[in-house]
């Protein structure tokens, strides 16, 4: 499955699971105690308090969403099949517990006496198990996203800059992409639909997220100069990633394949992991290897010129270091 689609699917699964697991919170008050377990004769033989059920559903929601979000953001390579198995299990367990909690609450609400409610019909049980398996399958499929550790990239040849030794150079490029505007709008639309359906909190969070994606990643500006590499995000050029020349080990213009960098968007983190990439399309981009072993990459047009400017600054820096030493 395409990684960016996989991540969107994972995000949707997480949201639906959370909404389902938190279903006892919806639609008014719950009975104080209700039947939560039934014997083979379909008669209640286990009971639980409303608070207990709520705690259970909230913890399930938190755990499942945490696992799925971790899988979405994961950049660390694992044994083959690790992430699909984990996300698949999270999806299945979340779906099963969320679904059965929702069903239990539904039964108690629609019964004159919540303590002697008859058990679920076979059809309802099949629906719960089926939806849990569906969640698991979708999450497992979408979980096949762990990116390759060290993508083999074609290094592009840097052009001659034709600059004299005294010349000061600055290279700048900006890029905007409709992809993130579309993704953002889609998320806002889902938020609006959820708001209409009464899922207030989720709707607001999703709409805000959509807005952030639109504003934050629809446009980037990339500069290469004596300060180093600067990537600014969004229409107001903030936040920024700044890599000073003194932190750089090498700079190259490379051919970026989003599949090898974990998909589109802002991938990874220079602080938390040792790799980060801003991937707005496939094709040429700048790759900076840092002295501390991290790697940063950004897709940008005419990356070869940018790389040449930084390579010149790097050479100047090491020449100065040699003279002073």
């Amino acid at each position: 499955m395409n990684r960016s689609i996989a991540r969107i699917v994972l995000a949707l699964v997480a949201v639906v699971l959370a909404a389902e697991a938190l279903s006892p919170l919806r639609g008014g008050s719950l009975p104080q105690r209700m039947a939560t377990h039934w014997g083979g004769d379909n008669r209640a033989n286990g009971w639980s308090s409303a608070t207990g059920l709520l705690l259970l559903s909230i913890s399930v929601a938190v755990v499942c969403v945490a696992v799925l979000v971790t899988a979405m953001l994961a950049r660390t390579p694992r044994v083959r099949g690790f992430w699909p198995t984990l996300t698949g299990l999270a999806g299945f367990v979340g779906g099963a517990i969320g679904g059965s909690t929702a069903l239990t609450v539904h039964l108690a609400r629609n019964s004159p006496d919540p303590l002697t409610t008859p058990g679920p019909t076979p059809l309802q049980l099949v629906a719960v198990i089926g939806s849990a398996m569906l969640f698991g399958a979708v999450a497992a499929l979408a979980g096949r996203t762990a990116p390759a550790r060290d993508p083999l990239s074609t290094v592009l040849r840097s052009p001659e800059l034709g600059a004299g030794p005294q010349d000061v150079l600055m290279w700048h490029r900006s890029m905007s992409t409709r992809l993130f505007v579309l993704v953002g709008l889609a998320v806002v639309a889902v938020g609006v639909v959820l708001a209409v359906l009464g899922e207030g909190a989720v709707a607001i969070v999703m709409a805000a997220l959509g807005g952030l994606i639109i504003a934050g990643l629809s446009r980037i500006g990339v500069s290469a100069d004596q300060r180093g590499l600067t990537v600014s995000y969004g229409w107001w050029a903030w936040p920024r990633t700044v890599i000073p020349v003194r932190d750089m080990a090498s700079v190259d213009a490379i051919d970026i394949d989003p599949g090898q960098w974990g998909g589109w968007g802002y991938r990874g983190s220079l602080r938390l992991f040792d790799r980060a990439a801003v991937v707005l399309r496939s094709g040429e981009g700048l790759r900076v290897k840092l002295r501390n072993g991290s790697t940063f990459a950004v897709t940008v047009d005419d990356a070869a010129t940018g790389a040449a400017v930084l390579q010149r600054e790097l050479a100047d820096g090491s020449a100065n270091a040699n003279t002073s030493a």
Partner: protein, 115 residues
């Protein structure tokens, strides 16, 4: 776009910056509607005073190549590329005419005959 400044050159820095931006427009590495770096950003990247960059931007604005707005920053106008290419044509016309030994008055007459 690539901006190259020669600190040893006789041409003032602002004129060098404006010239490099014009070249970027002519070569298409900056396109219509694109937002240029802020004056502060360009100045710190090039290691020059911010007012030098502002003066370069103002020169380009007077040539209707960029628009400067408080809210949107410095944006390349829709007709910028065409205008730059036209003035490049005019420049080479004048150059060729002078090489052929024409005086300025004669070049003007030549142009007016075409209008």
């Amino acid at each position: 776009m690539l901006i190259r400044l020669d600190p040893a050159s006789d041409a003032p820095l602002y004129e060098q910056i404006a010239g490099q931006l014009r070249r970027a427009l002519a070569e298409g590495t900056v396109s219509a509607g694109e937002r240029l770096p802020t004056a502060r950003d360009l100045a710190s990247g090039l290691g020059v005073n911010m007012h030098t960059v502002l003066r370069a931007y103002q020169t380009l604005r007077d040539e209707q190549l960029v628009e400067m707005r408080r809210s949107r920053g410095v944006v390349v106008t829709a007709e910028a590329t065409e205008r730059v290419q036209l003035s490049e044509l005019a420049r080479s016309l004048v150059h060729e005419a002078r090489r052929a030994g024409l005086h300025d008055a004669e070049i003007r007459t030549l142009l007016e005959a075409q209008l």
